[in-house]
Symmetry: D3
Subunit: 293 residues, 6 copies
């Protein structure tokens, strides 16, 4: 898979271990102990059908493999992918055509669509921010750890499909000294010194700073990156100038499609946005049976 | 627990089996194999701290028990709940005060806040729709099966905390004949007849209809409820009049805080809204350490 | 699949998510850490065999897909189904013919037969009650929540295959006010009023009553259904007459093949029987290797 | 714990790892996504209650710890055990008194009772066989691998509580050469020789035989035990005489309370009975709220 | 599969239920939430490759099916096994050739090799002990319960592949009275009497003894086997003579390739060695991509 | 917890989510379906005992919390820790004293000791390498991804307790371009360029090089770190000199306590050693009951 923008690989793909259990659990919840009682009453076991997964709004597709796995669980469903993860589609676009037992298509439908809609929503929100920047500056758009419970790996993937980049995955893969750490450590230099002593050679260390004074302390302590939290645009510009050549700069807080271009124009390296994972609206997708079937 | 509006029980509470596994999985994802490397470097094992869970925006609280369980997993954390599920709070309100090992507070923070923010977001969106109706008509606000993957029980609960009611939980607890079933069955009467034959005595049967003609067919076939999908306001009014005394009426599609009052004024019984579960923005909540600790 | 009686769909089928984990856990228990030590000592890896699943008693088949999945787990086993779920068979009938590695056939045998025997036992007990009624009255035979731990979805399915219908699946899909609720609520009217206020539009409300006085209270409070618990036949007749046109009537308690016809003749709508799930004897089924192999 | 008969330990107790997951899964199934909607509507959160677990029939108690764990999952329930596993009780006997949130008592009730009723049924059936033997001969009553799917460890324990002994737990802990192995191996001597070569020093080897000729072959091959399958009483007597001092003798097939005394009188060492685990009727147990609460 | 030594079956094979969950969990740990970020950046999705699993040291192969399953999880990988479990190989030997998506080969590589290296290490250590004995005496080499956490079934299998035999699998499949039991029971005769009373007919009873006096007590109490713990060679010889014809003899403690021949020459039946499972060094194995690919 | 060497925090502690499932699974494997049959026969339920966890060899303690959790699962066991993780102990040192039901102590013993012995073995091997370096140079000792299947988080923790540092946790938290990537990418510059384009701002990039020519390419491409694989000491010295100030240097391959001092003296930054996790011998630890109990 390549992103439409670059022709480069879109980073690590999802693996089946990232979604198979989730899909099975979700099917079990939807089916409960009694199963699909409506379809069980109406549809004979031997009836086959053809159905299409269709976008009902414009957006970027993400999560097709997860969605199709919901049908795989039942067995006997074949499919043809028309527009895969990373494709930009308009309302009415057919993403995939499925063919198999009508009972399976009906039973897996909602599980499949909920996953596809959620992940496409994250990818679309990310894409829209990338688009809003419009090439100004050189900043990457990244997500945060403010992800939906249970969906971190999937949402991190959706951000990459949306053209964004990933921040750390969790508490384990990068050091990020935040305000609550400073309460414990007492000062930026003390916190950074302690972190440096334990820092693995493949681990980066970032420090969240609220003021230019804290920024200077973090730079002097040789943090690899600094997180400029909720600063005004003029302060951001000063901060970026101060940090240039000394640390990677990241901006966070209050980023919207309306404000992101101005933030990017400060020359910051990274713009991190929590809401693309925790509050992106789902993309509307549906499953339409062929009426002549 | 009682809802602020009514003094009545808010329906079924969450049970530990609804969230314990999710919280443990989410902590495992956040901690990875290396654990909380930042706090592990900075915080001595014996250091205790006091911290507050604080709302950063106005909204309705939901999910406090799930969030607090994230701290319980580590052991040694005590807490006092200030504002429990169902409370309406403003930015700055303290929801709970925690006291325990600083390492545990820092390691559980994000897992706890992500759950609390997500569920409070759903409860707040639901509450805002209930408020927007403002007592016009008698319709209940319900959710749909368009929930976030992995979170159905929790989101259904959040809808109840928001003052809404639950639609069916899945494919297993009510019959809902939708357009794809009609493609298979051929007609509304044929579909309803087949469903009636298999309908358990504690199961209700609803039929989704797009037109007044289909509505009349569903009523004649004695569906318990009818789902009026994407109808215009004038058609809605006619449909409600037609169904009065014969079936429960439900409206779905395109409901927003701006349009819901008009819809309610048609006298419909149920207004179902997908986006309160799949697209409600998270409520911003944070964890603040006491600086004098 | 259609039931032999009606030619209609037998309701919702089982899905793989209903049994795959159970089968894998059961195989792991049977194999332990040391595996099938008898077969491992006697059977060379490359040896194939043909075997038949055979009924050793008369009964109705149920659970063949679950049983065959036990062989699937090992890989390499092919099978042909001779008599599928819903078939009435006599002692000696071949249900399926399997062909594959002898090691796999031997290792999966007991897991497969235990499932098949248990579910066929439930289906057979249900069928025998349906037969005992012999068309008197119009009552359905239903199961209860008194199911074997871990097997609810499978036993509910077996009841449907036996020609019965399902009661609620659990605490979540219908309201049933029982004697312990009345202890809390104080009276039938108080309990029903509270339930009505929280009742979802796709949820039915049933009330368990011990006396005709309680029955009248429940009917006046407009319960959807009433559960007539352990009443004498004359009282049952009065109760059914009283409730006609006002609520669905269900009888429970002390139902046996000898008494069920009389109960059905009262005109009751539903006869629920706990023992068809918690105490039905297993159907004897075996696996016979072809001796010429 | 000691069995009433002997004052000796009843063998290995259950451990929490034997039942905790099962209880949690079963609660999750019963609560579904919507929870206990009846109690949630009727019972205020703060209401406490006292309830008693009561036997409704005569039998032997088994599974109390599993049943009580269902209440533990909700938190806040205290209990006092009146008659523990191994006690023989009559209808009306109180087994335990519980005190705690009424919501928790109601939500855990069915899960607890289903486990307790099932295991007490197995223990009671076993006890009744032991009683039917009445001290004739010296045979032990054992279960088989024909257990209910998912419940092997629990049912093996219930057999011990009923005064029986355990056969092998699975394919891994003893060698048992059965007819299907003989089909592969060609003869008893060939099968035993292969088994002997792989037999661990803590593993016993039993051979199932249908005829006295096969028995003699098994004894000559020095099997540790022989399983005499479906033999007539006279043949049994001859077989026991033949095997005396050479191998442990086990009888299986067609054992009922009416026939077991005659079988035991042949002097056989072990009588194994499949139906005490796969087909024992559940013991009727109930939960009664104190009405003055 | 047959062991090179004997042409006989190597005992029970592994089943998929013994390793599939472990492999999936291990892949999930290695991939984390972000996946294989290096390969994701460098390798285009459509690129295929051919790779070989190669031994980098001499040893005995074990665990190939587990290792290959790691690739199966990703789909699309085909393989040809060159040297299967039980084969003795030298450095440079190709064990299997794989062909499939380069992304899958790279993502599964470490999980596969860690399993294969660990199990081959156990098999090799066992083989080397068997070789060191060199046919002196008749003792079997067995493992103990001192296995690596999470890997008991796999390591027991590797011991069999190495030419060893299995001791009991756990606390459940044989009785072994150890020193801590004697502290509780007070004496060897008291402990054995209690054990005999509860001993199932397919269960063997072994007693650990430290002195010849304890040995005599155990033999008089008719233990099936005796475990001679940390005895000197002369005492071992006396013990073996004393026990001959009365009980199986097992030696444990301080066994190395240098000492095992002398121990075997005492005529002991079983030599159990803890370190072949808990401390055997892994066999070095690697995955080499074909450079012309 | 602080390491003896430094007084600093030893990095991230283990969390319960890192070991609780493993311990429960391991107990379930050891207990099987029949439980602890030896103790069940010998030990009365009400008997309490006091026992000590004792080191039988010199080494560094690691994993005490995991080991003690095995006893916690049974309930009723109290303990006092004498020497916690990170302590250096000699043979005979008491690590913890336990008091509780004898049945629980006996049933959890092996699970607890296997975990404690394995992790203490890893910590001891790491400590011994740190000691062998003896302060020469400034290199850290790190583990690799060659960990025991199922135990990565625990072994990474044990390495930290041993005074070592962690390499990356998996494929997800750092980029490491290895020889197989170079086969695909064609050259070091091409591989590094592709990786750089996808590299997150908190991710480091390391390149494995076999020759000084490859090293120069990697340095020119501005890799953050270089892994010098199996180089001779003279080449190592040249490589370290070449890389100084340009990239972190890591050495891997063939490191033993005898060679590590010379390697460290080259001035390399990191020495990674696979065998401290995959092949470290377990530390011998035991559980001794107090005989006067």
């Amino acid at each position: 898979m390549t992103t439409p923008e670059s022709g480069l690989p879109a980073g690590a793909p999802l693996a089946p271990v990232h979604y198979e259990d989730l899909v099975r659990r979700e099917l079990a919840v939807d089916l409960g102990s009694a199963g699909d009682i409506t379809s069980g009453a109406i549809v004979q076991r031997h009836v086959s059908a053809t159905a299409m997964i269709v976008a009902r709004r414009d957006g970027r597709v993400c999560g097709l493999a997860c969605a199709l796995f919901a049908f795989d669980v039942f067995g006997g469903v074949r499919y043809r992918i028309e527009r895969d993860d990373g494709a930009d589609v308009t309302a009415g676009t057919v993403l995939a055509v499925l063919d198999g037992p009508a009972m399976a298509l009906l039973a897996a439908e909602r599980t499949a669509l909920n996953l596809l809609g959620h992940l496409s929503g994250v990818a679309t929100a990310t894409r829209d921010l990338v688009t809003a920047v419009g090439g100004v500056g050189h900043a990457r758009i990244t997500c945060t750890r403010k992800t939906t419970p249970g969906l971190r790996a999937l949402e991190k993937y959706a951000v990459r499909i949306g053209g964004g980049s990933n921040h750390r995955s969790g508490l384990h893969d990068a050091m990020l000294i935040k305000d609550n750490h400073l309460v414990i450590a007492g000062s930026v230099p003390a916190a950074v010194a302690a972190a440096r002593a334990a820092q693995g050679h493949l681990i980066r260390l970032e420090v969240e700073v609220d003021t230019l004074e804290q920024l200077e302390e973090a730079l002097e302590a040789r943090a690899d990156a600094v997180l400029l939290d909720n600063m005004s645009l003029p302060d951001l510009e000063r901060a970026v100038a101060l940090a240039r050549g000394r640390a990677t700069t990241e901006v966070s807080g209050g980023i919207t499609p309306d404000t992101i271009r101005d933030v990017a124009s400060t020359g910051v390296d990274v713009i991190s946005v929590g809401w693309i994972t925790h509050s992106a609206p789902a993309l509307d997708v549906g499953l339409d049976f062929e009426t002549s079937a």
